[in-house]
Amino acid sequence: MYGLEAISAANGWTIAISGVSIVFIGLLVLAAVMANMERILASWDRRGELLKAFKQKPQEKQAQVREAPQGHPESQTPDKISLRLSQEQIEVADHFRLITKRLGKPFPLPQLLEKATEHGISNPHRHLDTFLKLNLIVEDKDDRRGFYKWASDVQVTNSKVGKP
């Protein structure tokens, strides 16, 4: 059997049209999900605020504290200093923590930078500099000078959270 007859006999038209449609739908849905992923993640990061706003009474909202400048200590409590970082800075800090977990405590900065570069983290020097300036990473003055550790009294929060 040849020609259109062979195509019809093997359900060729149905298979081809269904196949093209499935491939298109698959990639279209994937594209749509990934196009909105940034927004979904931002909402996820603000879930606390959204939940709070949902529960809060209007008069309480007026009493909200204004946000501190990005990357600077926001408020100081006897226990922990709260630092507001951008999403990118938080992600890089998380990666740095993963790396330093393997390097041991305290860790040397050159090795941290080397590993960060290997892992494809962009601008590791700039981020490290920021973390040092913010005292998120501090020198281990007690045991081994020249080696560093994560500040134990700093709490990191997302700068997007709490925006008026």
């Binding site: 040849y2 990639l27 990934m34 993640l41």
Partner: protein, 374 residues
């Protein structure tokens, strides 16, 4: 003297016929293209040498040939016959591919979907000229320009055609720089080729980690038969992006993929024994494969032009040619053609988006075809 003549009759020189010589010449051409022209050397050199190995005339029954049970080559060929090697190659591809270009511009993924038109149009053409449905599906997938996918599907649906289909798929992949440019010039104007794309947005690490999980679940729920290929592709990518499984990702993208490529190349080459390979069907497969590849390229380009009709933010239509999943060759060709028109127009990173989407699209297409043929 009689013993001497017997011995000479039993050597390769005594048993050779013109078909062996034709295949040996093809093998040498593959090796030449790989080494001298740098056309996909990692594939063409092993396949070319495999063709030489498969076409040295040997006694049947001594357990030497690839199709003889118990032979060494037959054991190595098991990975092709059972579709083991292609998912392992996909694991390596996933572990070495950066999906961020695609994630930054999701609409370019549709070009990868459009380029899969070649698969289904060729499927219909193969049915029309008398191939069985399972054979037609295996031939159509050549248009996906994805060697491992073509081998995987033909191993499942038409194992007797694995050799010609694999050789056709890899030949056309190697010939991307020759096949695609004329189609690009034919279907686009200079003005279109000069279109500049917007810079892609930075993609966060979290998005890169979430993508393989969502992509896997979504694609495999839609086309479960694509699970071996897409599962390994997305798993490999998760290993790369999660940063906590570096050793595994490194092995997958270096040692493992290299070993599997060697085994796949040499056994696919050796499976092209003259008596199995030099048939009218093989000629048909090669012609349909070329047509499939051209239709796929044209499909991507024309779909990009269609998108441009409806959107303000224009897409350079030659990016559509990268929708065939020959990674990264077709993206490189797009960059080359775009650069010829405007040396300061860099399209490579944009072309990687449809290129990678094409890999996912052709794997989904393979899963769909397999499901329909079951």
């Amino acid at each position: 003297m009689e013993h001497m003549l017997n011995f000479l009759g039993n050597t390769g020189f005594g048993m050779v016929d013109y078909r062996h010589l034709i295949m040996i010449a093809i093998g040498i051409v593959f090796i030449y293209l790989g080494i001298a022209k740098h056309y996909e050397p990692l594939l063409l050199v092993p396949i070319g040498f495999g063709i030489l190995m498969g076409n040295v005339p040997v006694f049947k029954g001594l357990g030497l040939g690839i199709y003889e049970p118990g032979s060494v080559l037959s054991y190595l060929y098991f990975g092709v016959r059972q579709g083991i090697y292609p998912p392992l190659i996909f694991l390596g591809i996933g572990a070495m591919t950066d999906f961020s270009y695609m994630l930054a511009q999701p609409r370019l993924m549709l070009l990868g979907a459009a380029a899969q038109l070649g698969i289904f149009i060729t499927f219909l053409a193969a049915l029309a000229i008398g191939f069985l449905p399972t054979e037609a599906a295996s031939i159509g997938i050549i248009g996906g320009a994805d060697g491992p996918t073509a081998i995987f599907l033909s191993a499942k649906l038409a194992p007797h055609l694995v050799g010609p289909i694999a050789i056709a798929a890899y030949s056309y992949m190697a010939l991307v720089p020759v096949i695609q440019p004329p189609i690009m010039y034919l279907l686009t104007t200079r003005k279109e080729r000069l279109i500049r794309m917007q810079d892609p947005r930075p993609v966060s690490r979290r998005e890169k980690i979430i993508f393989p999980i969502i992509g896997f679940l979504l694609c495999c729920f839609l086309a479960p038969a694509a699970l071996p290929l897409l599962g390994m592709l997305f798993f490999g990518n998760l290993l790369k992006e999660c940063l906590v499984a570096d050793r595994l990702a490194l092995t997958a993208r270096t040692a493992l993929i290299d070993i599997v490529t060697i085994l796949l190349g040499i056994t696919v080459g050796a499976s092209t024994q003259a008596d199995v390979f030099l048939t009218a069907k093989s000629v048909g497969i090669f012609l349909l494969g070329a047509a499939s590849f051209m239709v796929a390229t044209a499909g991507g380009i024309l779909f990009a032009k269609l998108i441009n009709v409806f959107t303000k933010n224009k897409i350079n239509p030659i990016l559509g040619a990268a929708g065939v999943s020959a990674v990264p060759d077709s993206a490189r060709v797009v960059q080359l053609i775009g650069n010829r028109e405007d040396p300061s127009n860099y399209l490579l990173m944009h072309a990687m988006a449809p290129n990678i989407a094409g890999v996912i699209g052709s794997a989904i297409a393979a899963g769909v075809l397999w499901s329909f043929m079951m």
